[in-house]
Subunit: 351 residues, 2 copies
DNA sequence: GTGAAAGCGCTAACAA
DNA sequence: TTGTTAGCGCTTTCAC
């Protein structure tokens, strides 16, 4: 066992060529005769050559620019976490000549997405990390990127049609099943359980549908035990009507628990339950946002499901960096663990 | 805004000295006159100099050796996961001239720990990652390391007396509270809950005591609601007597749930409950081991608490690498999130 | 105390 | 098609 790492120079010597030639085959830049190519290849694998990545990036002296296209973090707490992940990764990868630029669009405004996308393009990025929440607009833009050979990774939502390098997010179906299970586990008697979509943003429709399917399937599978699942959609309601509807929903004496699919809907529901003193109703929802955490602590919310938005973006940047710098292969899709948060493990996630 | 990074050369120029001198102040190796020192310091912070870490490690051409001292992974599935984390990190850091050597001792044999520790020392490591499960022996050994200025990080268990660079593990107290909470949440009526230490290895005593305290405290705080907590210690029992004891324990009609603190104890208890058809008893335990997972899937175990042993060791290596390579400061203690595993989120943790 | 220069492993422009 | 060589930014030895 030779302790020393084999260098290009060693390979060159063994193959009886110069380092330049070896470098050419390593990066298959051509201009190498078949014979020497074969010979070098042979030595390469025989000695198990592994490039020194430090020397590589130092020597090549390339700068990479990654554009991150995400919703404005100042407008929404959830996206602030995504943004934090980008900041973190930015710091980590700055050593490697990788710069990250952020482009914030308005979560509620398609036009702003298109406008920012154009800006992203103008910045001539080497790669893009994006949350393509406006499906149509995203499709157009990323087709353009595709044509220009700009690699992109999506997180949070996906647009499979434009085949991103990778999608980082959660398994929404399984996520709905988990919500159902948590309600089930925390309610010993059988009864009725509802899944609520409140203040759904139109671009979330697909996710919510998948969550709903998971929720319903879970209970269907135990149908014989008297579970029921109801799906309610309170998108863009007038406040008073929402309150009335919730009231009506909860008159059902068999109603045992609610899964709320949107973070905002969650704390509205929580405040409703608290106001009406409905401690008999179990409540499960998504995201570690401030108000949700408060209601979790108070015991109004029983479980939160955490999507780890910060880690999603940090990983996205890492993937792109590894892809460009080291030609690493990236998985098509990386679905995160569904993390369950309760009062007792909350602080261990130190958010 | 100057886009170009300031290099040592730039600093030297601005300060009217040579790169050698700048390097000397950067690493305060002395041999610099007070005046030039001051001048260089000035330029340094004025220009916000940040060293290029790649060039640094490449230039210094140092090799680091980290010794990992852990229980034999072939003897116990839990430690196989710890070992996997080391392998993973090994790969990741090999680029940086960091080698990791593993030293496996027998989990059940103090003498083997001492023997392997001696081997570790003989290997002249630059740093050590260890699970110091034999308190006395570890104390002796790491005092020696301390004297020899070999930094060490502990994971899984701690020996605070020898002040490791960092302890990576879980908050055992909170972990016990979480176990209690999960039992509580999944049992609507009040009743009796027990915490069981089965086949406890003597060196685990402290952890188990902390878990127990967390468990008991949780229920004490709701004492008024009729909860009870019982602590049972079935260390090193004869098999038949254990079965008898469990049988006796479960005759209590108020018994609602069990928290088992050791992985082995957990699947023994699970198989017991299954055999006797006690579906009325909730069961919570630790670690994503094969048999535990099976019982979770079957519904005999309701929740598993995951300690992420793989990530613990991978992080340990990362910390040491960053410490030696980049002089990064490491937290004294890194307590991991307590991850809750159920049937529905199990697969998303793709173990 | 200080500076010059070689070298870390790799890249890429240029000569041959 | 191949070899040579000057960097990349930093460390470290050695001479002054």
């Amino acid at each position: 066992m030779n302790d020393k790492n084999v260098r290009i120079k060693d390979i060159a010597q063994l193959a009886g060529v110069s380092v330049g030639t070896v470098d050419r085959v390593l990066h298959n830049r051509g201009k190498v005769s078949p014979e020497t190519l074969e010979k070098i290849m042979g030595v390469l694998k025989k000695k198990g050559y592994k490039p020194n990545l430090l020397a590589r990036t130092l020597g090549s002296n390339k700068k990479f620019f990654i554009a991150a296209l995400i919703p404005d973090p100042t407008l929404d707490e959830y996206w602030a976490h995504s943004n934090a992940g980008i900041t973190e990764a930015q710091e980590e990868w700055s050593h490697y000549n990788i710069k990250v630029g952020t482009f914030y669009f308005n979560l509620y405004d398609k036009a702003s997405f298109a406008k920012l996308a154009a800006k992203v393009f103008d910045s001539r990025p080497d790669a893009i990390l994006a949350s393509p929440i406006f499906h149509q607009e995203a499709m157009l833009f990323f087709k353009l990127c595709s044509k220009n050979n700009i690699p992109y990774i999506f997180f949070n939502s996906n647009v499979p049609e434009v085949e991103p390098l990778c999608f980082i997010g959660q398994d929404f179906y399984q996520s709905g099943r988990l919500g159902a299970e948590l309600l089930d586990l925390s309610t010993k008697a059988s009864g009725t359980f509802a899944i609520l979509h409140i203040y759904e943003d139109i671009h979330n429709a697909i996710h919510l549908a998948q969550k709903e399917k998971g929720f319903i399937d879970y209970f269907l599978e135990k149908n014989n035990q008297g579970f029921k699942a109801i799906s309610l959609d309170y998108s863009h309601p007038q406040e008073p009507s929402l309150e009335k509807e919730l009231l009506a929903l909860l008159t059902d004496p068999k109603m045992k628990g609610l899964l709320v699919t949107t973070s905002k809907g969650l704390f509205i529901t929580a405040s409703f339950l608290e106001k009406h003193g409905r401690k008999d109703i179990r409540l499960v929802g998504y995201d570690l946002l401030r108000e949700n955490i408060e209601y979790l602590k108070k015991g109004v919310i029983d479980f939160l499901i955490h999507q780890n938005p910060k880690r999603q973006t940090a990983l996205g940047i890492s993937y792109l960096a590894n892809y460009m710098l080291f030609k690493k292969t990236i998985p098509n899709t990386d679905l995160f663990p569904l993390e369950i948060i309760t009062r007792q493990n909350l602080k261990t996630f130190n958010i």
